[in-house]
Amino acid sequence: MAIYINLEQLLQERKLTSKDLAEEIGITTANLSILKTGKARAIRFSTLEAICKALDCQPGDILKYKPNDT
C-alpha cells in the first residue's frame, strides 16, 4: 500500500516504547503492532486522535504517502 505508518520513527524520537504508547492510547500491543507493520486496513479517527495527543504530533506526521514503484 502507498500509505504507510511512520510510528517507529516518532516513537524513537520521543524515546517511547510500543508498550508505553499502547497503554497510553488504550489499545493492545498486538493491535499497535498491526498498525506499525502496515497490516492494518484502516485507522479510526479516535485512534488517530489518541496517537496525536500522546505523541504531540499532527496526523500528517503519522501517515505518510510513498508512491509504489510500478
Binding site: I27, L32, I34, K39, A40, R41, A42, I43, R44, T47
Partner: protein, 171 residues
C-alpha cells in the same frame, strides 16, 4: 443459541437414521442380488417384480448412488452446523461447505430427474413431463432453488468474511 443446539441434535439424528437406512438397503440389495437370500417381492412393486436381476442391480445401484450423495450432503451440512459458532462465523471453510452443499443439492436433483426420465423411457416406454403440485418440498424446482440459495449464501459468507477481516484490521 437454543435454536442452534436443537438444529445440531436434529441434523445428527437425521444423519444417523439415514446412515442406518442406507446400510440396511445396501445389505438387503447385496443379499437379494448376489446371494439369493430374501425375495424381490418385498419391494411390493408390480413393475419391479418383472425385472431381471441385472436390471434390478442397475436400478438398486443408481438408487444407492443417489442415496449416498444425499447422505454426503447431509454429512457436510452436519459439519457446517457444528462449525457455526457465534464467535466463529463467516470463515472460508463455512463458505466452502455452503457452496458444496448447494452444488450437491442441484447436481443430485438433476441426476435424479435424469435417472427417472431414462427409467421411464427404457422400462415404461413413456415420457413424463410435468409440474409437481403435491407439496412444496417434493417439488424438484423448489429443491434446485434451495441449492441455488445455498450457493448464494456461500457468496454472502465470502463477502461477510472479508468485511469481518477488514473490521478486525481497523485499529
Amino acid at each position: 443459541m437454543r435454536v442452534l443446539t436443537t438444529l445440531r441434535k436434529l441434523i445428527r439424528l437425521i444423519y444417523i437414521l439415514n446412515f442406518i437406512v442406507f446400510i440396511a438397503i445396501f445389505i438387503v440389495m447385496l443379499a437379494t442380488l448376489f446371494f439369493g437370500i430374501g425375495n424381490i417381492d418385498i419391494l411390493d412393486n408390480e413393475t419391479l417384480s418383472t425385472f431381471s436381476k441385472t436390471e434390478l442391480g442397475i436400478l438398486g445401484f443408481m438408487f444407492l448412488l443417489l442415496y449416498a450423495g444425499y447422505l454426503y450432503t447431509l454429512y457436510i451440512f452436519k459439519d457446517l452446523v457444528y462449525n457455526l459458532e457465534p464467535e466463529n462465523l463467516f470463515t472460508e471453510l463455512q463458505s466452502t461447505y455452503l457452496l458444496r452443499i448447494g452444488k450437491l443439492i442441484i447436481g443430485l436433483t438433476l441426476a435424479e430427474i435424469g435417472f427417472k426420465f431414462l427409467f421411464d423411457i427404457f422400462y415404461q416406454q413413456e415420457v413424463k413431463i410435468g409440474f409437481q403440485l403435491e407439496g412444496l418440498f417434493q417439488n424438484t424446482l423448489f429443491t434446485i432453488c434451495i441449492g441455488l440459495f445455498f450457493i448464494f449464501l456461500s457468496e454472502i459468507f465470502k463477502i461477510a468474511g472479508k468485511l469481518k477481516q477488514e473490521n478486525q484490521l481497523t485499529i
